[in-house]
């Protein structure tokens, strides 16, 4: 569920679209003097239509249909979505569907939404990348099955019907299941042109009753994650990282660690010290017994308080770069009779997925198998090869389903994956190694949603119209210093300003400035990336404009979104479903927000009830979403429901704090995602559409914060401009 579309994509094409060569140049930058290429099998997207049986779908003699997915599933349901596309056109029996992760063939698996330049899961692109590709694979596979049956039965192919995994020939009364013709079908010529079903013919896509194929194994403990992998002789590794980012190992005394029963070895790797043991508990105890002297001379020692002071100072001077200048914000502000000035603060956030990060490495003959939640498998393969001192063709990437992700498993240097390779290499690959980070390792491991601050000055003229919007953003670049740094354009990291720069609102005179800070805390995309903070600033600021001009918040948005049918459609739908025009129930206060990200527009109305002067409960959230065709409507709902809970937890009390460069919140006792007792009732309304699908994993997240903050303002008259709310309500203005 991350986000590289901003860097690879055609959707943000307004900016640019890198070529594959640019991407390769980017990856090469990870190691000086090193050329990292894709595996030999990786080809630029080919003109010829690929044989679907050679990489998209496998049918066993047992009739099991296995779809090979180009995208990785971390819970967002892309395996289910892709399987739906294949099964629809193939005519498969849904109960026989399985899905495996695939990699190592750019021609087949390159992300189409990134122009095929790399395989990867991110930017909520999985369904848009798969929409044509996997429906076509299903249709071609069906055609080839029919051809094979027609030959065997000596009947015209046009007389063979396909339904639920079965081929029929009515006139002769012959029938067979897919499994009977799978081998023969794979050898049939690949048809170059197949017709896809029209929406009226769909039996799976868009159907309300369609269930996920993978719910049952998630209710009986049999759905396997990386943590569940077991191999004979496998050792479990834990790792101790420097207590501050940028620290290094000076010396290690492993005597006590090695004395812990079950501990087999202690090795120093580039990122820290690893303990290898026969079981996880011994690896944890062994790590506790390590005596390490760290070299912190080049480490980041600033804490959140120091960074906050520096960022506040940076907000007071012009940004180093201008991300958007339209009209003349300065002159327009000069005409203003009223101004709104607001400073927003956003903390570092941890992904905190429930399965702590891990990877497994095993050498089999001359092949090194690397198991994990590989969001960018070809890049990880190249990095693993470099770490192991071999070539990418000797590295076999095994893509596992993961217990959450939220962006954390797409890292430019492959962190936990490469660390596992380093550990295995340090013991000469003599045993399979499972590197399991503990919760504390995971939380203190960096790669956070960056801390950001915004300063906004908005003018309102005598007629109550917007007169200038000046917006300054300060924070770390996610792309800088990574293999994706080539995607920074004219000094602007689009992930820092997306959602503010080039806003969809009709704001004729605006200026968006950016100052990217240099901080040694590693940062990363976190479910919905820049929109996590930009939508909050924009949507609460628009609400302040409504209040300052005496306009209804929905009416003002309607005005500013004139000529934007998708946004207006969502706004009207959510307003209607939330009965915005009627007075809310006694004690209920409402707030609205509308925002587009990853090609999808979402509107939300949050209803809160005050439980004290500053405390409240979010009781209900009504959402409207336009994501193009809803391949699995119930999964679209599920993603929005989950996004509301994920986003609400983050704005209520999630924060990752640093003191003297050290992470304070290292477990769920201090870093507190939402729990069930705070989960509101969520109602999701989907705009009917047959347009190609856009993202759904991320776009719900940015809305809930501003919708709730606007409801809080409606209740109290106070604006929450510092997150999380736990902090912000005490600074309410």
């Amino acid at each position: 569920m991350t986000f590289m579309d901003k860097f690879f994509a055609k959707r943000s094409a307004a900016t640019f679209r890198p070529s594959r060569r640019q991407f390769l140049a980017g990856t090469a930058a990870v190691g000086a003097g090193l050329t990292i290429g894709f595996p030999a099998s990786g080809q630029a997207p080919a003109a010829a239509v690929p044989n679907p049986f050679a990489g998209y779908v496998r049918i066993g003699t047992d009739n099991v249909v296995t779809v090979m997915s180009a995208h990785m599933d971390m819970g967002q349901g892309v395996y289910n979505g892709i399987a739906t596309l294949v099964a629809e056109e193939l005519g498969a029996d849904w109960s026989t569907i399985r899905v495996d992760g695939a990699s190592g063939n750019l021609a087949l698996y390159g992300n189409a939404a990134w122009g095929g330049t790399a395989q990867g899961t991110g930017g909520s692109t999985a369904m848009s990348s798969s929409w044509e590709r996997y429906r076509r694979a299903g249709a071609i596979a069906r055609t080839m099955l029919v051809s094979a049956a027609a030959k065997a039965w000596n009947v015209p192919a046009s007389e063979i019907a396909v339904s639920k995994g079965t081929l029929f020939h009515a006139a002769s009364g012959r029938g067979a299941t897919f499994g009977a013709f799978a081998d023969a079908a794979a050898k049939e010529p690949v048809p170059q042109n197949v017709a896809l079903k029209s929406p009226a013919e769909w039996t799976l896509i868009g159907k309300q009753g369609q269930r996920r194929y993978d719910s049952a194994p998630k209710t009986n403990g049999t759905h396997d994650f990386t943590i569940d992998l077991r191999f004979p002789g496998m050792l479990i590794a834990t790792v101790e990282h420097p207590p501050v980012f940028g620290g290094k190992v000076a010396s290690v005394d492993a005597t006590a660690a090695k004395a812990v029963p079950g501990v087999v070895d202690v090795v120093t790797i580039p990122t820290g010290v690893a303990v290898l043991a026969r079981d996880t508990w011994a690896a944890i105890k062994g790590r506790e017994a390590l005596q390490i002297v760290w070299d912190e001379t080049s480490a980041e020692k600033r804490g959140t308080a120091e960074l906050r002071a520096e960022y506040l100072a940076a907000l007071d001077v012009p940004g180093t770069h201008v991300a958007d200048t339209t009209g003349d914000a300065q002159a327009a502000l000069g005409r203003a009779v009223k101004t709104i000035e607001a400073t927003y603060e956003f903390p570092y956030l941890a992904h905190a997925a429930l399965e702590p990060l891990n990877a497994v490495v095993r050498r089999q003959g001359d092949i090194i198998e690397v198991y994990g939640g590989h969001q960018i498998p070809d890049l990880y393969q190249a990095l693993a090869a470099r770490a192991a001192g071999t070539t990418p063709d000797k590295i076999s990437m095994r893509i596992m389903k993961t217990g959450g992700g939220f962006g954390r498993r797409a890292v430019g240097d492959g962190d936990v994956v490469i660390e596992a390779v380093e550990i295995a290499k340090a013991i000469g690959f003599r045993a399979p190694v499972k590197l399991q980070w503990t919760r504390e390792t995971d939380m203190a491991g960096g790669r956070y949603r960056p801390m950001y601050m915004h300063k906004v000055k908005i003018g309102i003229d005598a007629q109550g119209r917007l007169a200038g919007w000046h917006h300054r953003i300060v924070g770390q670049s996610i792309l800088s210093g990574t293999p994706f740094a080539g995607m920074i354009q004219n000094g602007i990291d689009v992930t820092s300003v997306e959602g503010v720069a080039h806003t969809v609102y009709a704001i004729p005179d605006r200026r968006v400035e950016l100052t990217s800070t240099q901080v040694g805390v590693p940062v990363l995309w976190w479910r919905s990336v820049g929109h996590t903070h930009t939508a909050y600033a924009m949507e609460t600021a628009i609400d302040e404009v409504a209040a300052a001009t005496g306009k209804d918040p929905v009416a003002l948005r309607r005005e500013l979104l004139a000529g934007k049918p998708k946004h207006l459609g969502v706004l009207e739908l959510v307003a209607r479903q939330a009965k915005w025009n009627e007075k809310p129930a006694e004690g209920i206060y409402r707030g609205v927000a509308v925002h587009e990200s990853f090609g999808t527009t979402v509107g939300m109305v949050a209803e809160i009830r005050m439980t004290s002067a500053t405390e409240f409960k979010v009781e209900r959230v009504v959402a409207a979403v336009d994501c193009g065709v809803a391949i699995n409507p119930d999964q679209v709902r599920a993603q929005i429901e989950g996004a509301v809970g994920f986003g609400l937890g983050s704005v209520l009390r999630e924060r990752l704090t640093l003191e003297g460069g050290k992470v304070v919140e290292t477990n769920y006792d201090q870093y507190r995602p939402l729990r069930i007792d705070e989960m509101p009732k969520v109602e999701v309304h989907i705009v009917a559409s047959n347009a190609p699908p856009t993202g759904i994993g991320e776009p719900g997240v940015p809305l809930i914060g501003p919708a709730v903050a606007n409801a809080y303002a409606a209740a109290t008259g106070k604006r929450i401009r510092a997150l999380p709310f736990e902090t912000g309500v005490t600074q309410g203005v």
């Binding site: 996920r212 719910s215 194994p217 702590p356 993961t402 919760r439 809970g645 477990n667 006792d669 007792d677």
Partner: protein, 152 residues
Amino acid sequence: MQMQLDVNGRKIAVDAPPDMPLLWVLRDQLGMTGTKFGCGMAQCGACTIHLDGQPVRACQTPVETAVGAKIATIEGITDKIATAIRASWVKLDVPQCGYCQSGQIMSAVALLRENPKPSDEDIDAAMQGNLCRCATYQRIRAAIHDAAKSLA
């Protein structure tokens, strides 16, 4: 230390340090990986099992304290209530990533055993110790109600 455990009705001999959490005995020694590791300090509930019918966090249960108790895990819980819970979980497609769901189901089964017709508030109180980072909470609530209804 040699110990005998009663896991899902089977007597199993294990050899482990007495302070090793039951979680790691189950996962690493017995290969029962349905019980998950999330935090190691009883904050997330992913490792929830039943000890003599009571939901406990296996990451904070030293194995020696489980000797003599009936241990039930996600792999072995198959009574009427568990079957109903699973059916409702599938019917409503509760899981997203699924990682926390073993623990959620163990807590939900324990709740319905105590309280066959829980209110939303009862559910929130009983399930509050089980984190779901995908935030499938709305469907967890609905599935518990659905299972309670099917058992009534």
